[in-house]
């Protein structure tokens, strides 16, 4: 597989020039073959063969497809109160569309429907937030790694700042200024969560930039943006993919936490966090109101983490082959 000229040069380099910052795994192969490996069908099969990962994939696919198909599948209005059927218990026995499978809340809204709709918001925020953060972080991190002077120092101090003022606290500050809202959260997640991406990108860019194939590209006259995009970036893809999955899970938890605290998604829009918070008051006579949204968050987070772990295992192992 590794027979393109670029790979030969990269392979021959052996990573001796790297500052020792990158794991050995990233020093083995180069650009083209990495894509091939990532999408190798054997890998996909191996990925799913581990039962928990297969189960996790099913859960993620379920929530994602519900998020996309939501309006066509649900039969109850998620936000419209129906006081006559308030606080009905879960009813698993009857067909999904005729009864309230997971019961109703204090104003008679269907809990199952609201969980599906709440999942839409959570997944949207997790996926779009993590993608936005990854885009910003990779661009800034590669810039910092390529340009070690003042620019690099400034970028990395901004990344440190995000550790010093954790996302949850920053979100509370922002909520105080702008009030709660979906768009505000989305922007905040992207601009206050790129630190980890920048740190990984900076380290890997540093370790790659003195390798022979980068030198070769420079010698034949490629401009720095082209070198970074074509010869450095492909080395970042697999660690970034792993980080992306974990950070989506963290963002889902943070959104739920903020909604739980009452400063996330404003009502009446369903959100797992705010459903759980409302359900707290009915723990003694309608425990399903708190338990099911909580289970939905936990299952989703578990699934994403499991897929991320599996992704890391598979990517690592293939790199050593």
């Amino acid at each position: 597989m590794a027979n393109s000229p670029i790979d030969m040069v990269g392979g021959a380099g052996g990573g001796g020039a790297a500052a020792g910052a990158a794991p050995e795994a990233f020093q083995v192969a180069a650009a083209r073959s990495r894509w091939d490996r990532l999408w190798n069908h054997r890998m996909v099969v191996g990925f799913v063969r581990y039962p928990p990962a297969a189960f996790a994939l099913v859960i993620v696919v379920f929530f994602v497809s519900m998020a996309m198909l939501g309006p066509y599948v649900i039969t109850w209005d998620p936000d419209k109160p129906d006081l006559r059927s308030a606080l009905q218990g879960p009813d698993f026995g009857i067909a999904v569309n005729s009864q309230h499978v997971l019961g109703t809340d204090s104003v008679g809204r269907d809990v199952f429907t609201r969980i599906l709709v709440g999942g839409r918001v959570s997944i949207l925020l997790g996926v779009v937030g993590a993608t936005g953060a990854a885009t910003i972080g990779v661009i800034l991190g590669m810039t910092a790694g390529w340009n070690r002077g003042l620019i690099g120092a400034i970028i990395m101090r901004w990344a440190d700042l995000q550790i010093a003022l954790p996302l949850l606290l920053m979100a509370l500050t922002i909520a105080a200024v702008f009030g709660p809202g979906l768009h505000i959260l989305l922007i905040l997640f992207a601009v206050w969560f790129w630190g980890p991406y920048a740190r990984i990108s900076e380290g890997l860019t540093l370790s790659v930039k003195n390798r022979e194939f980068v030198e070769a590209a420079r010698t034949i006259g490629a401009a720095p943006p082209r070198i970074v995009a074509r010869h450095v970036f492909p080395h970042l893809i697999s660690p970034l993919l792993v980080l992306w999955s974990f950070s989506a899970a963290i963002l889902i938890i943070i959104e739920a936490s903020l909604s739980f605290l009452g400063v996330g998604i404003p009502p009446p829009t369903a959100s797992w966090g705010s459903m759980l918070s409302e359900g707290r008051q009915f723990l003694h006579r309608a425990s399903w109101l708190a338990i099911y949204p909580g289970l939905a968050i936990s299952l989703t987070v578990w699934s994403i983490n499991t897929l991320g772990d599996r992704l890391r295992d598979v990517v690592d192992r293939r790199q050593y082959l």
Binding site: A164, L165, L168, L172, L261, L276, S298, V301
Partner: protein
Amino acid sequence: MAGAVLARRAIQAFIVLFLLVTTLFFVSRMSGDPVVMLTEGAIDPEDVEALREAYGFNDPIVVQYVRFLGEIAQGDFGDSVRTFQPARDLVIQRIQVSLQLVIPAKILVIAIALPLGSVAAVKRGAIGAFAMIMAVIFQSVPSFFLGVLYIFLFGVTLGWLPVFGTGGFENYILPVATLMGYPLARYTRLMRAQVSETLTQEFVRTARAKGLAETKVIRKHVMRNSLLPIITVMGVDIGTLVGSAIIVEAVFAWPGFGTLVVEAAKTRDYPVIQAAGFTIGLLVLTGSLVADFAYGLIDPRIRRKS
């Protein structure tokens, strides 16, 4: 030489603190006029104007910024808009209440996770499997759901423990247990990974080859070397733990720092929010500096190399 490295890290931390103060200032000015926000347009325009003049909001933004920096350098964040107490005193007072949860949680996590993680790495039997299942559960269940589950189980169903507020010893059990959840999973996993990696090192083979007892190999050679990276993580985590206390306090109505911040966010109490953000930043940065320092102190290789 080690001093030079530490000095550089201290300067970097100071720069980050400066950025933090700048961010807090500009974010709170981003939505426009703070006086209008504070009064919600409820009072007479002349009073608003007088208030604006009194707080200095009519000065150019740069002048306000420099004045803000000067006040913070003196430890003055202004008075809370709600209670009219100095924001700094409020934050310090409430953080002490939070530490009553955070410190026991941290000690218990270290006491449980480090041995458990090591055992899980050394003997991959039932204990290892138990440790990993526990880690997976605590990692996936967010703290607010964990807290609600504990309340449901021990408070509502069994009726064993009080579920909110401060008071006697029983009031500490559920909040501390909730606060321990995620760090317990994290440190058990970290320790297991570290010990597994250290076990493959050559000095472990050497120690075994020269006939040391296995317990001695593990205690003196493996554990010690595995602890180093974990110390760094712990330093940074000091702030994270206070941050996660925000949610746990909301679940158990614990009148600490977290409750203060959430109330401040809901009532737009800027001075308190700013004092809180600054305090957390200071804690995190100090924590990671102390970890750097401790790291050099514990590992003679680092002391000599740098």
